[in-house]
Symmetry: D2
Subunit: 338 residues, 4 copies
């Protein structure tokens, strides 16, 4: 931590700040410059709550140097975490594709889609049973009935399931049915849900919020790891920016940043990241090339009849093309793709 | 709704789209232009779920004209809603000031602050008992003990209380103690919480999310009104932008937009909106001048010792200055400020 | 400046960094912490070019403490700058209103508008003769003919003129006719234009770019002051954000930030800042209340026939109302408004 | 174009709007709905200036359907444009790598870098002789001396040159020396420069502005094509967003959008797009995978001594690794990379 004093701060004020620092069990290193004094702080093992110092008289600015997270950081845990979902791995050299409809709409719909994606070698099936929707008047998901359909798909096609938990009330039910609990972008900072989801012990897919920095994403993951659940998969799904040609701006530079800052696997979601079907294939290739551990894509047998997110769902044919493209690409970026 | 067809869309595809529109009980108005065909749609009373049409072959774009919300809209309810909290009003010509610490830290702290703000004529006291924090390692609030302190403050100083509910588990407890339930920015799209909060029948203070559009804010309010709870106060508290001189960018143009689109009262939060104590007074004045129904500010008797948000909390002296400034300003912008 | 070393940086690497710092004529203060070493740097009178150090082996991050600008900073020049335009002042306790059409369209149009604004006590008339337009197919301004019309308006109504210079070719001509040279948002980082405009000696109105930080705005002003021209008026006109209810997001917290960081006057432009006529009055009041030194607004006698920016131009009647509102408001925020 | 009338618009107002439309030589299609009237407009061959209509009484909103650009659009010119720079091609199946230092610093520096990139098969060398810098106190480039150095590099290594023109004064000189004129992000809307650059007849590399939408980028290109210069290469170099882990957010979804909307080639700049050396390789691979026609990267023989942008310049060794990676990747995404 570095404390920058105002130009007019008297030696007394500097001394007082140093004293507060010592009280906190830390070491103060005052540096008297030509224009102002700065005070370096060492001795902290974790980020210091800077508010206490920021508010002292004569303090102009407090600059944090230590990252605010710990369990998720690569400094703390240098090896890559590989999340094992009953034999299906996410992380390491593996490239994992999660595919399925935005919403579970019917058993027939899921069966058709699951059949196609299973044939293409996909081993994780996505589908929403509980849907957080901006409007109270749009389709909100089939609820438990949707979870039952997902369970049938798992049994019939040997697929693992990932589905979203939107609140603590239904979390237990979701956890019973699913292999991976998804926490959506809107809930990235719903800390009660994060803690309870962590306590289930299930692998968690944590999506970046629409305006979240990567430090905030990692801190949200820290909530889960602090519950003794190390099985967290991060997901970049786009942030909201000034760009108006896509639903969100997929921030692919997040992938190398997370890779160097954290040991957790991270996948990309080019469906939400772009919002347009015709951009899903190029951005999926880019996600693999940039080093993501996998992607999650929305696929629909009849996108024009989809009850949600039809515009960004690719057809079964597009999906088969995507799989072919990724298979060609994988070895050139040192990824294993089954 | 307007449907724009691609330039190469055949008359057959146009006919099929018109047919789907008619199936939905709406009226299609095809317009054959020099370069392409567009289809106007009338007959809808509420926003049509456009996905179904957007995905039809030959459709390039679907443009929504009808706003997606209803109960919150001024078209639906032309008169201003005035929320009455046991005689204290928010909305109409009244300008309401809510003040207090970021977090409830101790009975003594709250008493000191409450005493000062009550003397200045404030009638609503804010203070967090449950704090949603980015990091699991920072102060998370006193919980029920904090609520009890707030109850004592109410009794002693005759103040109304506004405090945040962060999850459905503790919502019931919060509702027992508080006069207004605050839903924070991070939970603006936590629909389960919105619905349950709506069902308590208590007035709700709903803060805009960090990347939320105003349509999304109004749709979140719609979730509450749809539970037969019309007592919603909106709050502009800044959005995240490229600007790095303030914690958030307070979007004051949101106030006149909401005033014309909705009948709900809207206040501003210049503390979170700027993140810096020295900007709270100017932005509070601006909030009044732009037409807000009130402001919510963080005040602390010893900001340098605050357990959270010290940097944006104003001192008791600054608060007294603020009240004086607002009293001078109010009549010139036709606001009643007690 | 603070240099944060990586955790694995050896004492040798630390020594090398210190050596480079000393070579630059500065003083290095290494601080050996439990987890890593940081190096404080003092002795610099101006911001150090950090690239040279950022790239040394073992360096994780370089944190600048000194602000990059000098001539524009309040530390350098503590008193408010008041720009005097032939007796009309911008800055200090004065609140200055600049008003007129977006584009000069005809002598009649300008005469009508100038007459109305002069009657309301306005002393600075705005109007574009050269218009930077996103599309090559829209109206680009009358050019020199427009400047001549502005000159007639000045003579007839005793108004000062502010008009935009869009390139160095026409700058000389603009400078001959105008009292204040406006540099628009698109040209905020057109350094050749800034330097040449500075050299004219004329007062400069410098608008913030659409994605510019305030440090960048001040650095652009620094280019002008470095040409020995201290007569710079800054202008906040909104930044581009995720908000879609307004053309730009007027960032009013910029005003107090600039006021504390710089001695230059700053005005707001609620016309471009919102893009919607019906928001201009509330945001104008807010601009005064937040402490701006003035505002610039677009007024048109027939906005529905305006050749540019009609949607954000207020009518003459709205303008008269605005003036009344500002006159009531001014004394309550300690502003002098004639 | 679609015109949405307010709910209270009378038939008279609707009729007046229709009349104005007819006056403009267009056809009006009024649609009388349950809640309001909308008016479709056909007959326009180019985007209509909507201001005139937006300002008519009773008009709530005008929605543009026709894109505002023409010459750059794929509808107008369906085949891919391939820009030929003396035999080196940009566009089509070719993937083109442009590499070199941020700034030309000395003949020796350029020689070393040029030698290394030429050996790796690169045929276009980049280097700035005129540098637009935020601060007037940082290195501004060698000017004409820099251009001469670039000319020597061209001669000695048979490379083509791309360098930036920052103003119309030095444009002629730059055009004499360079093979491609670069227009930087800060000048994307410097229309005088765009027009004059277009008139040189030289190929133009046009970078997206920091807050520019893709429609604005295409309109800026339209300015160049309108000067009868079809040789424009677009460049995505990142936009400014809330993300703070990278200098800019590289918006790779821009590539497929431009590919479908325009016939012009588009490359990516992962150096400016990320601002961090360690992200350049992954984002370069992603740029190829997403379908870009090439990339432009900053390479330096001694990045720690670079006079500008050292933190984002990759070393010669990293560059060789990059070339190997791209060569492996190219055939799997159907790109030809020499």
């Amino acid at each position: 931590m570095l404390i920058v004093m105002t130009r007019t701060a008297t030696p007394d004020l500097v001394a007082r700040v140093c004293q507060v620092i010592e009280t906190m069990g830390l070491v103060a290193h005052p540096m008297f410059g030509a224009q102002r004094t700065a005070i370096g702080v060492t001795g902290n093992k974790r980020q210091v709550d800077s508010d206490r110092i920021a508010n002292l008289p004569g303090v102009q600015e407090v600059i944090q140097v230590t990252r605010p997270y710990q369990l998720v950081s690569r400094e703390y845990h240098p090896e890559d975490t590989v999340v094992d979902i009953g034999g299906v791995k996410v992380g390491g050299r593996e490239f994992t594709l999660m595919a399925g409809p935005c919403s579970v709409e019917s058993e027939e719909q899921c069966t058709r889609i699951a059949e196609a994606v299973a044939e293409s070698g996909v081993r994780i099936f996505r589908g929403g049973a509980y849907k957080p929707r901006s409007s109270p008047y749009t389709f909100q998901g089939l609820g438990e009935q949707g979870l039952e359909i997902l369970a049938k798909v798992r049994e019939r096609f040997g697929l693992k399931i990932v589905t979203e938990a939107v609140d603590t009330e239904t979390l237990g039910l979701v956890a019973q049915y699913t292999d991976i609990i998804q926490i959506g972008a809107r809930n990235m900072q719903n800390y009660s849900l994060l803690k309870k989801a962590g306590q289930t012990g299930k692998p968690i897919l944590l999506k970046r919020g629409q305006a979240a920095t990567l430090d905030e994403l990692l801190l949200s993951a820290e909530y889960i790891l602090a519950e003794n659940n190390p099985n967290v998969i991060l997901c970049e799904r786009g942030v909201r920016t000034l760009a108006n040609h896509s639903r969100n701006t997929l921030d692919l530079s997040a992938i190398p940043f997370i890779k160097s800052s954290s040991h957790l696997p991270i996948i990309a979601d080019p469906s939400h990241g772009t919002g347009r079907r015709e951009k899903v294939l190029p951005l999926s290739r880019a996600s693999m090339a940039v080093g993501a551990d996998g992607i999650m894509v929305e696929v629909h047998n009849q996108p024009e009849l989809a009850l949600s997110d039809g515009a960004q769902s690719i057809t079964l044919d597009m999906f088969r093309t995507l799989v072919k493209q990724l298979r060609r690409l994988a070895p050139t970026v040192d990824k294993v793709y089954p």
